[in-house]
């Protein structure tokens, strides 16, 4: 059974149809790399999965929870579906540890001490044990993004959605974040990544999805798809970015 099941999802902003019938099945442990041109609907698809956007037709079921507009139990859904953003979006008035502790204490009602222990564990995992009490403004972009990943991990999500999480980083900081994601993938975390890092998509991904004009234009095993893109659009895209 799939952990995330997306069926024929359509989504419009006004008259602009952005998702034109997208279907995807994501199993536990999958590392799905979504690639495609800017504006092809990658972010919108990701945001539909955790209910940041609503869609007009089709269905999305994530970890057994149906994501369907106003009736969705968003709190339950988001406890199990984490998201990391391009712009980090750390809470600037809280330290790294406090950023990580917030959701466990507020949403899951975990004690401060327990949350702090979890924060120490997940921050160690992203290599930031020494930065627990640093404020976001005292951290580099790469460190901030790793705190953002740790913040999601503290909720023990079943799926982690990552929207171009290295795109806002200076090139020399990209790898430290990718290494963390790679380690998560090795540990069996289910990941859905929108990314422009083609090499990473090929080496770490278990599944590649090429989106084009609001549709899944091509999908398959990354190495195979990259080695022999079937559609001219993907051939052109791969040619441009690599």
């Amino acid at each position: 059974m799939s952990l995330v099941s997306i069926r024929d999802v359509r989504k419009s902003f006004g008259s602009n149809e952005v998702l034109k019938g997208v279907s995807l099945d994501i199993a536990k442990g999958d590392v799905v790399a979504i690639i495609g041109r800017s504006g092809s609907g990658k972010s919108t698809l990701l945001r539909c999965i955790n209910g940041l956007e609503t869609y007009q037709s089709g269905s999305i079921v994530a970890d057994g929870i149906e994501v369907a507009g106003a009736n969705t139990n968003l709190r339950e859904l988001r406890r199990h579906v984490g998201m990391v953003f391009q712009q980090f979006n750390l809470f600037p008035h809280l330290t790294a540890a406090e950023n990580v502790m917030l959701a466990p204490t507020v949403v899951n009602k975990v004690s401060k001490a327990e949350a702090r222990a979890t924060a120490a564990e997940v921050l160690a995992k992203v290599g930031l044990s020494e930065k627990m009490d640093a404020y976001p403004s005292e951290l580099s972009g790469g460190q901030q993004q790793r705190v953002a990943i740790a913040r999601s991990l503290a909720m023990r999500p079943k799926v982690l959605l990552c929207d171009e999480i290295t795109s806002a980083l200076d090139p020399e900081l990209v790898n430290e974040v990718l290494r963390v994601v790679e380690q998560l993938a090795r540990e069996g975390m289910t990941l859905i990544l929108v990314t422009h890092e083609m090499r990473f998509a090929r080496d770490v991904g278990t599944k590649l999805v090429f989106m084009h004009h609001g549709k899944v234009h091509e999908e398959g095993v990354p190495k195979e798809v990259f080695a022999a893109p079937r559609t001219p659009e993907l051939q052109q895209f791969v040619g441009q970015v690599s």
Binding site: R78, R79, V81, Q87, F91, L102, A103, V106, V107, A148
Partner: protein
């Protein structure tokens, strides 16, 4: 006839000033509490709550404070409830203050980047939790300066309470003028006292604002 010395006039004005201060404080704190509740409603994205606050704010911002004082003073009396000038002034100033504070604070809430809402949403926080733990701690930093600045308007607004007979600084001035026939002296002193109340606040507001701009 009774003779008023300069010091008699001044001490009487200062006694009345206490009531200006008390009324200002009550209006500001009660208005702040009502304003905070309205702020939650105004930014809740729940249509009926938003509409209610919008109309409320339009009414209290869009009509003269004096009319509001009259409405509370004479309006409630229509229902057979005795309203003292003190009560009417407190109610009118509280609601009037809350409308302005809500709008000031809404601006501060909207200045917080959308990403803060999205990140906290994605962590399963509810709207109230987002406001409480993520948005307001950041918004309140930028809200301090305009809020302190607005407190000056509240102090000046209390002067209107004199018209419904509440004896505060302005009313005391009028009464002393009637007794002494020295309008220039009396009202100069009244103005000076208002200035002494308001100037430190506006000066402080400017200072905080300057500090925030540097911090950025």
């Amino acid at each position: 006839m009774l003779q008023f010395s300069f010091w008699d006039i001044l001490s009487n004005l200062l006694i009345a000033t206490q009531w200006t201060i008390v009324l200002s404080l009550i209006a500001f704190f009660c208005g702040g509490i009502v304003g905070l509740v309205l702020l939650f409603m105004r930014t809740s994205r729940i249509a009926p709550l938003e509409w209610f606050t919008k109309i409320y704010i339009e009414f209290f911002q869009g009509t003269p404070l004096l009319m509001q004082l009259f409405l509370f003073f004479f309006g409630i009396a229509l229902f057979g409830v005795e309203v003292s000038p003190w009560m009417a002034a407190t109610l009118a100033l509280t609601f009037w203050t809350s409308a302005f504070l809500t709008e000031i604070w809404r601006g501060c809430v909207e200045a917080i980047p959308k990403g803060q809402w999205e990140a906290s949403s994605s962590l399963a926080l509810s709207y109230i939790e987002q406001m409480r733990y993520v948005i307001l701690p950041q918004a309140s930093r930028i809200a301090v300066a305009p809020t302190v600045g607005f407190s000056v308007q509240v102090i000046k607004g209390t002067a209107l309470a004199s018209i419904i007979g509440f004896v505060e600084l302005t009313k005391a001035g009028t009464m002393l003028n009637n007794a002494t026939f020295r309008p220039f002296l009396v009202y100069s002193l009244v103005a000076l006292i208002y200035f002494c109340l308001c100037f430190p606040l506006s000066w402080w507001a400017k200072k905080i604002e300057g500090r925030l701009n540097v911090a950025r």
